[in-house]
């Protein structure tokens, strides 16, 4: 339990400060935009401060990400009409051997851009488990789905990411 009294502010601030880089990176992946990511973190922190009295103190990172993502998803529903993602050319992707070696010199800086093109549930699963190296348990608390669901989203997300990366190479040489 967060302590009662004057310490509660301090406890909240210390918890939040420790999680700011993670929250920002997750927000950046969710929104696809640096400025919107900052706004999202700021708003999520206000939500978190409001809920701080009822937070049980367990898994603070998952708790904060859950608040952040829920705020984003509520907002994103209103913007669902404007698709941000270009559909992958499935036929071309099928022909391509996606597991062949990639030129990481060229592709390395684009890995997060490619990740940003995945559907949200895969993007967030990979972002939490592979980028942030959260456990499947912590990611499942953050995403409010069973652990098995997180795991299959991560596995599928890695495959989708690989398709995107193979496609980036394809586009650049053609």
């Amino acid at each position: 339990m967060p302590p009662a009294g004057a310490n509660r502010k301090l406890e909240f601030e210390q918890t939040a400060l420790g999680e700011l880089p993670v929250l920002y990176r997750v927000a950046r992946r969710l929104t696809g935009d640096a400025h919107q990511a900052e706004d999202l973190v700021a708003q999520a922190l206000l939500d978190a401060a409001k809920g701080w009295h009822s937070f049980d103190g367990a898994h603070p990172r998952s708790w904060l990400i859950r608040i952040l993502r829920n705020r984003y998803l509520r907002h994103a529903q209103r913007e669902a009409s404007k698709p941000r993602h270009v559909q992958l050319n499935e036929a071309a992707a099928m022909q391509k051997d996606i597991w062949e070696d990639l030129d990481w010199q060229m592709i390395g800086p684009k890995i997060l851009d490619a990740l940003d093109e995945l559907p949200e549930e895969y993007r967030t699963a990979v972002s939490l488990c592979d980028v942030e190296q959260m456990s499947y348990e912590d990611a499942s608390l953050a995403m409010q789905v069973p652990i098995g669901t997180v795991r299959s989203r991560v596995f599928r997300g890695r495959r989708l990411l690989r398709e995107k990366l193979a496609w980036v190479v394809n586009e650049d040489v053609s």
């Binding site: 009662a4 009294g5 004057a6 509660r8 502010k9 301090l10 909240f12 601030e13 939040a16 400060l17 700011l20 880089p21 929250l23 920002y24 990176r25 640096a34 900052e38 973190v41 700021a42 922190l45 206000l46 978190a48 401060a49 409001k50 701080w52 009295h53 051997d97 597991w99 062949e100 070696d101 990639l102 990481w104 390395g108 890995i111 997060l112 990740l115 990979v126 488990c129 592979d130 980028v131 942030e132 190296q133 991560v154 596995f155 890695r158 990411l161 690989r162 990366l165």
Partner: protein
Amino acid sequence: MFHNKNRTGPPCKHMEKLLNKTAEGSARGIARWYALAHAARCGPCRRFLNALIEMIARLRASKNEGLPDETAQRLKSSAAAAAANIPFDD
């Protein structure tokens, strides 16, 4: 144990989960040994495993850059502002 003698193409379907767990480091003991032994003898699974290991390493490393100073400062201010909303009680 080994089904696919080709060196290209997709990994063995029944190995995909275990290879994912091996690549991320969550497969342990006999499961990990089995995956590595399979990959050693199966070209597509070996390529799949190596590709996953490399991609996961790149994803993990992507966060090492850290935040720009100005961004970090503004986020700290946001945290302080949010904390100020928490009432003193008792």
